[in-house]
Symmetry: C2
Subunit: 338 residues, 2 copies
Amino acid sequence: MSHPFQTSAEFRDLLNRAPASDQAATQAAADRNGQLTKPPGALGRLEDIAIWMAGWQGSEKPSASRPQVVIFAGNHGVAAKGVSAFPPEVTVQMVANFQHGGAAINQLSRNFGASMTVHALDLDRPTQDFTETAAMSEEELVDALLTGWTAVDPSYDVLVTGEMGIGNTTAAAAISAALLGGGAATWVGRGTGVDEAGLSRKASVVEAGLARHAEALADPIEVLRRLGGREIAAMAGAIAAARAHKMPVILDGFICCSAALVLAKAAEGALDHCLAGHVSAEGAHGRLLAALGKEPLLSLGLRLGEGSGAALALGVVQGALACHSGMATFAEAGVSGA
Amino acid sequence: MSHPFQTSAEFRDLLNRAPASDQAATQAAADRNGQLTKPPGALGRLEDIAIWMAGWQGSEKPSASRPQVVIFAGNHGVAAKGVSAFPPEVTVQMVANFQHGGAAINQLSRNFGASMTVHALDLDRPTQDFTETAAMSEEELVDALLTGWTAVDPSYDVLVTGEMGIGNTTAAAAISAALLGGGAATWVGRGTGVDEAGLSRKASVVEAGLARHAEALADPIEVLRRLGGREIAAMAGAIAAARAHKMPVILDGFICCSAALVLAKAAEGALDHCLAGHVSAEGAHGRLLAALGKEPLLSLGLRLGEGSGAALALGVVQGALACHSGMATFAEAGVSGA
């Protein structure tokens, strides 16, 4: 297929031409919901999920029986600064683990009937250290955005985006601090388990990145290029592609949401097709979700990435849609209303 | 089979002879968990669930692929006092809906691969109005406990107990107030959606019940007989049977947890084999879970009963066990540790 964009400016234009959800399908689903054999509102957020999905899928009875999980992996120049508890070679080792079916996201994808693909982005060529220069060139950024965009297959009914990349909570913290303010300390956390000294190094690295790129922090796409990473850009591309296809997305943890934040800052309403799957144990994730105006479905102390929290939330979404599509109405069941 | 108990005193004795979980299997699962390809603790509560299930099932790799959902329905004398937004005939109508596959719990059971049975307990013969006399005789209580006990099939790997019974949030509030104190207003809520006047009637009915049975409130089984209902007693019987079979249980909402509370007060540790599936929108449920020392897996604003919140939590439990049983170890995957 021809590329949907060839520059980051064209990508931004696409975000600003994103389609809206189908109001007729939303209304039809809301009407149906009001007739199902339960007290009004008794299924809580499950009802909201079903009606919202109906709008994006353009169907009174939406489905999540064919989810797509796309995992992007990248390596980070800042990993050399000692910001992770794990060495950078773990990124490529974990990609092999994904490919052989041994990681958490493989089990969760299989459990919830999802098709999963892994996309390794130039792992032998880490991004530049953002304390010194931009993490990516314009060309590298566009390549990563396109990798994400083209990974999305609109024949599936819901998308989960996940990532792997030693050092990438530091990049996510830098993006969050750049676009939301509050200083580095607000946004750095223990990631996969760094100690107190590691946490302090992360904050220093983020502060140095913010200082180095101070003149560019007003432009969200430029923030992504300078402070992000290939897997973060790829997630942004995938989330944007899903929107173009009117395919609902379940967001994962802090790093996934830092990619989503770039889109939200670049175009109003860019995340209207996204649900927050969970809030992770990485403290900054809750703050980031609040800034995005997203209420997470799950809060189970996960802090793994890989799309794992979003994949787990597929169970809730599938349960919601099973109720919405399968329940009898009061009239069908001969049950008296309130 | 011969009845496991013939009196409520014998039921109480069974509770006090309940088996413990298997410490060797717990340790084996914890050891395995420590070797899986993820940072330590990165799967949060999913890791705790897997290790806990291992102990009850006596297996390093526990399963939740064959859940059993048992739904009990009963009618309540206090329903005549106007404590529900729905008329009492809805109980029998909803039982028919369960039998025909049209209710929320049918869809959730199917979605998560559960086998579901419905047990209607003398719907044409409501319990007595507890503001006037005991809700059940000793014989009626034992019959209901036995209905619950015998409904449990230990060939399944995890149990969900649910209920249907117009008026039963009032009975659950009365049991909670009797066993935990705090007064009627602490424990009554809007149930399926009563208005302000209905809420006030519920509180008055509970207060009247507490006053009528004041001399008996120190004995949890007697509280169940006097203030409970057949479906609540049946859930207590089912939860106790699961313990005898060392079968883990996922607790549902406020009414299910009022049955569990009776067991917890009757025998220390009686709920060690139980997880809280969710916290419902019925405000008293959160207070009751706190009293039981149970942290819910989900909080999605459900207030339907039927076992719906617990059935939805099956997705989380199945995801947890898929990770625990299916993930590669660091050694298997050739991934470097921290």
